[in-house]
């Protein structure tokens, strides 16, 4: 990258295209989102997805050789972790020495884990008998980074039925209907609970919630707290976990589940990354709330995800025999930052489009209706950049389309961006770009694990003693999640995990602890002919050297 002339945050050569965006803006402002560009039919959606969505590239996946999902196709990056040797040598662990003895062990401290902890305590478990084990600090999770908000059908013009239909349609109708029903019916109760905790939702002076209509929805339904929704909810949940005195072990990821002689999950082996020691944590109920897999950089994509999103929980659950679903399905958020290098892949919240910012190509032309579901819009952007060559190329060889953010203040009044999008405004301002004046360059970015561990409405995984909630699970979103439903999923099913884990803990009896399943997994690998030196879980990604730098994608 040669030192080039920069004009207000952009290389001079990009200015020509920005001028074209400005030229078409007035005309585009005459239309509402609904009639800005026609919606695709369901057949056309399938067609563009098949040609351009990364999920549909069959060569990027392979059938699993072992385990409950043997034969199912998953991304190579996921298969690499599942077809890998355990980090732990069972002989190195002294299971007779129990470091932590809890009623409930919660692995992960994002939204789902914290909701589980609080509701376990509300359900009568002594806070001191709950243990939260977390890979980094308390609350270090994707949950905190969520910007656009949380869905609940609580307006008179809306209904849980419409929420249900939006979820099913976006998820390609394969979602677990019982889970979806549970989510939409409990969502308003969750908003009330959060309001009473002290979450500062954006509201009108009379208490009416400010709600957004964003891609894939048919009603205004996404509640927000500026564009720090996840952070604000997490601050409340973390505060009460600490107020209740629930023990938290930080910097100690679970690296293997522990079972007992009766085939129940009975806790986990924790790894203190700082002192490099193993801890044995025994528990009557174990809740997996470890989040997703963005840091696997599937197909080389940059990601919006937290440093710790490495699919650890998936690996652990699979080794004790939990089944997964929809693991062939990955969410690429349509609008990740494509420029500059410092923030490549970071989220440009869907709420920007909700408030009027329009995606346009390098000529300033509209090419997609921003109210399409995420997978469709992402595929349309990839097609625009690589199929039609209508994208803007960055100095590092990436491509992107413009998200015309100045439209937000024009439509909603001056000052809207600063007031409703302080995080976004700050992020670009730090890079010398004023998104009130200039559009921002975006391209799809790896955002969410649509599939995951199968659960029922009690968050049971089918393996006795093991519960799971949040992004680590599959079913709610089918093959494509909608905006604002991840946070509601965390709350609805995190809460349920706490309640049902508590119910179980009150009567469960544990036998002798064992790691036999780890040795058995090794044997399965051998019998399936998997020869590899890979080990998993990954725990943390490795960005040493050139890996620290974002690379151009090889899409064609």
């Amino acid at each position: 990258m040669k030192k080039m002339k920069m004009v207000r945050g952009y290389p001079e050569y990009m200015r020509e295209s920005i001028e074209l965006v400005e030229k078409t803006r007035d005309e585009r402002l005459k239309h509402t989102f609904k009639d800005t560009y026609r919606f695709l039919t369901l057949e056309e959606r399938e067609d563009v997805l098949k040609k351009w969505h990364p999920d549909y590239k069959e060569e990027m996946k392979r059938p699993l050789k072992i385990g409950p999902n043997k034969g199912d196709k998953v991304p190579h990056e996921v298969a690499d972790l599942l077809e890998a040797h355990p980090l732990v040598n069972p002989d190195d662990i002294d299971l007779s020495h129990v470091d932590y003895d809890a009623d409930i062990l919660i692995i992960g401290s994002g939204g789902a884990g914290l909701a589980a902890a609080l509701w376990a305590s509300y359900s009568g478990i002594d806070p001191g008998d709950i243990l939260i084990a977390t890979k980094l600090r308390l609350g270090d999770a994707n949950s905190k980074m969520s910007q656009a908000g949380i869905q609940a059908a609580d307006r008179p013009q809306d209904s849980p039925i419409l929420h249900y239909l939006d979820i099913m349609g976006a998820g390609h109708f394969v979602n677990d209907r019982e889970l979806v029903k549970t989510l939409v019916m409990e969502a308003p109760f969750i908003i009330k609970w959060l309001e009473e905790l002290g979450v500062m939702f954006d509201k009108e002076p009379d208490g009416t919630m400010v709600e957004d209509l964003i891609g894939g929805l048919c009603r205004f339904r996404v509640h927000c707290c500026r564009d720090y929704t996840g952070l604000e909810i997490m601050r409340n949940l973390m505060d009460d976990v600490l107020n209740l005195g629930i023990p938290v072990v930080e910097f100690s990821p679970a690296i293997e589940l522990i079972m007992d002689e009766y085939g129940q999950v009975a806790g986990a082996v924790l790894w203190n990354m700082e002192t490099e020691e193993y801890y044995v944590a025994r528990a009557k109920s174990t809740v997996l709330a470890t989040g997703g897999f963005g840091r696997l950089h599937i197909q080389g994509y940059a990601t919006t995800n937290h440093y710790g999103s490495t699919a650890d929980g998936l690996v652990l659950a699979y080794r004790v025999g939990a089944k997964m679903r929809d693991m062939d399905s990955v969410q690429y958020h349509p609008t990740g930052a494509a420029y500059p290098e410092a923030i490549v892949g970071l989220l440009c919240t869907a709420k920007l489009r909700g408030r009027g910012a329009q995606p346009v190509n390098k000529y300033g032309e509209v090419f997609v209706n921003p109210l399409e579901p995420r997978d469709v819009e992402a595929a349309m952007i990839i097609r625009e950049c690589y199929g039609k060559n209508n994208g803007v190329e960055t100095p590092t060889g990436m491509r992107g389309v413009w998200l015309d953010t100045p439209m937000i203040d024009i439509i909603n009044g001056e000052g809207t961006i600063e007031k409703a999008f302080p995080a976004m405004f700050r992020q670009f301002k730090r890079q010398g770009i004023d998104m009130r004046v200039d559009p921002i360059l975006v391209f799809p970015t790896l955002h969410y694990q649509n599939g995951g561990i199968v659960i029922n409405v009690r968050t049971e995984t089918g393996v006795p003693g093991l519960f799971a909630a949040g992004e680590v699970t599959g079913g709610v979103h089918g093959k494509n999640r909608l905006v604002g439903n991840s946070w509601m999923e965390l709350m609805v099913f995190g809460r349920r995990a706490g309640i049902y884990a508590a119910e179980r803990a009150k009567k469960a009896k544990l036998g002798k602890l064992t790691l036999d399943h780890v040795s058995k997994y090794e044997k399965m690998l051998e019998e399936a002919g998997v020869r590899t030196d890979r080990r998993s879980p990954m725990v943390l990604p490795n960005y040493k050297g050139e890996r620290a730098i974002s690379h151009a994608l090889h899409i064609l």
Binding site: L231, D239, I549
Partner: protein, 232 residues
């Protein structure tokens, strides 16, 4: 960038005093990883939302001590830097349901707020550019709403707390103020409570049952029908 290899322009940075050359355009965090660091502390969301990567630096030739987030700040030539892995600070314990948003509950829990000498060092330290001293002063006056509004974008990175000469930890009273505001002062949502009543009375049960039993074809039809009625 990587394909151009050694022709990439580089800047000189000093990590805890040790000199390295790194490509231009990288954040402090990516630059340290480029050098070979693998973070356990000092790295969280990597997107400016979690406050894990507070960093202190000076630029050669400039006496001023500067503060920022390693995941957001781009390296500059002559930057010598150190990350602050943790800011010691005590959060007080309370039951939000039993507090009242009146009197001066903030000073009651955090009496050290009164020691503020209005030096504005906290504001200068804030990587979010918040008016930290202003919300500390509002807290002293008991103006919960003002504290809540001004502190809303706080990511609790700890930089204000380690810079305060009086030992104040601005973000904990701010957290308490926001919770008090959200729970007691902000207007309650009426439509939310009406919807909850409807759900409790079973208003949607029969229809929901019907939808959960529909074939995929029937669901698709309903889905497409509702696409015709998208709100404006």
């Amino acid at each position: 960038m990587s394909e151009e290899g050694s022709s990439t322009p580089k800047v000189r940075i000093y990590v805890m005093g040790k000199e390295y050359k790194v490509p231009i355009g990288l954040t402090i965090m990516k630059a340290m990883e480029y050098i070979g660091y693998r973070f356990i502390r000092g790295c969280g969301c990597r997107g400016g939302f979690c406050g894990a990567c507070a960093t202190v630096y000076r630029i050669k030739g400039d006496y001023k001590l500067k503060m920022d987030l390693a995941c957001q700040k781009v390296v500059e030539d002559g930057m010598y830097l150190v990350q602050i892995p943790f800011a010691p600070a005590e959060k007080k314990v309370y039951d939000i349901k039993k507090l009242k948003p009146s009197g001066n509950v903030l000073l009651e829990y955090y009496p050290e707020l009164a020691k503020c000498v209005s030096c504005n060092t906290c504001t200068k330290a804030c990587p979010q550019d918040l008016e930290v001293m202003d919300f500390v002063q509002a807290a002293i006056k008991g103006d919960i709403k003002e504290v809540a509004e001004l502190s809303f974008d706080c990511i609790q990175c700890g930089l204000c707390a380690i810079r305060c000469p009086m030992g104040i930890v601005p973000y904990y009273p701010a957290l308490l103020a926001r919770r008090l505001y959200g729970r007691y002062i902000a207007p309650r949502s009426k439509h939310l409570r009406e919807r909850i009543k409807e759900i409790e009375e079973g208003k949607f049960d029969a229809e929901m049952e019907r939808y959960t039993r529909m074939t995929v074809e029937e669901l698709k039809k309903e889905y497409l029908r509702t696409r015709e009625e998208i709100e404006q």
